[in-house]
């Protein structure tokens, strides 16, 4: 059975998908994951022998690294979009919630993150430590598959599959500990960055800066 595509919905979806047309968003996401991986490796190396300090550094530092890294990367992505993408295929800004709606969204996101964390903790409790890598790979893969479905991006399904495979490979290799978790996330970040670079290369090959901006 085929599902009929509504042209209006398709046009709306295409416009939303435009954010990912150049691969910059993936590279940005990959950069945040790489920062996170570097932080984990750093904590593992500098707190060797003191698990309490490592636990505190991970507990407090992880959200900070993701938050600050996200903010920084967002600015960088925006800068590159302004210099590379907008002159070629046009400028689009997406609706951003303001005021109470924004805080509601942040609260909802925090709740979902906490719920996912709780599920992961429950699932992994009683599992060998190496299985955490598989659980993480699958969870990230599911998130990417969701993005792929929402925006109609095939390449996100591929990265989703690779994420799950990476998690499975790390579990099979019996990876354990913070250092190797950092290595796992490093691999994940590189995957995102390479996917973004490949997409950017194709985008730049197929587009040119517009000669005239408008009428």
């Amino acid at each position: 059975m085929t599902r009929e595509t509504n042209p209006i919905d398709e046009m709306i979806k295409r416009t939303r998908r435009y954010w990912y047309v150049d691969g910059l968003a993936e590279m940005g996401g990959g950069a945040v994951i790489l920062l996170y991986a570097a932080y984990m490796v750093g904590v593992s190396l500098f707190t060797a022998g003191s698990p309490q300090i490592a636990a505190v550094a991970l507990g407090l530092g992880q959200p900070l690294v993701i938050l600050l890294g996200g903010l920084l990367v967002r600015r960088v992505v925006r800068h590159f979009k302004e210099t590379l993408t907008f002159p070629r295929t046009g400028y689009v800004a997406y609706p951003r919630q303001k005021g109470s709606g924004r805080w509601k969204r942040i609260f909802q996101t925090a709740m979902i993150a906490a719920a996912v964390g709780a599920v992961v903790a429950l699932v992994s409790e009683g599992l060998p430590e190496n299985m955490m890598f598989l659980v993480s790979g699958v969870m990230i893969g599911l998130f990417l598959a969701y993005l792929g479905y929402t925006f109609g991006l095939t390449r996100f399904y591929i990265i989703a599959g690779l994420s799950a495979l990476l998690g499975a490979a790390c579990a099979l290799l019996n990876f354990q500990g913070t250092l190797l978790m950092g290595v796992f996330f490093g691999g994940m970040g590189l995957m995102w960055v390479f996917s973004g670079l490949f997409t950017l290369r194709n985008y730049l090959r197929n587009t040119e800066p517009a000669q005239v901006e408008h009428e």
Binding site: I8, T15, Y91, A210, E213
Partner: protein, 101 residues
């Protein structure tokens, strides 16, 4: 006139025109977009796009802002609250009509 026929004749004709429908759909998904993006996505000529944007602006559905990006002129378009409301109404009407076919 039966209900089905009435629901289709009640559709906002300004939005129902294919080119304007494309423009409205794009702007509905975005907070704002420039002329170049609309030109590419809607697949219209510059003159055609300008004419349709003018009609939408006159109806109070679209807001147009002329600005500069560096030394290049840039035309930014966005839906007004009335335009957003009209588009949502149009989609609802069209969906209910199609559901009854």
């Amino acid at each position: 006139m039966n209900e089905d026929a009435r629901s289709i004749t009640d559709l906002d004709r300004l939005i129902h025109e294919p080119a304007r429908l494309a423009i409205m759909s794009i702007l509905f998904a975005a907070e704002e977009a420039d002329f170049l993006f609309l030109l590419r996505e809607a697949g219209l000529t510059k003159g055609n796009l300008s004419a349709h944007l003018t009609r939408l602006e006159e109806a109070g559905y679209v807001e147009i802002e002329k600005t500069f990006r560096g030394k290049l002129p840039q035309t930014i378009c966005r839906l007004t609250p009335a335009g957003r409301e009209a588009f949502e109404g149009y989609r609802k009407q069209l969906k209910s009509f199609l559901a009854n076919i």
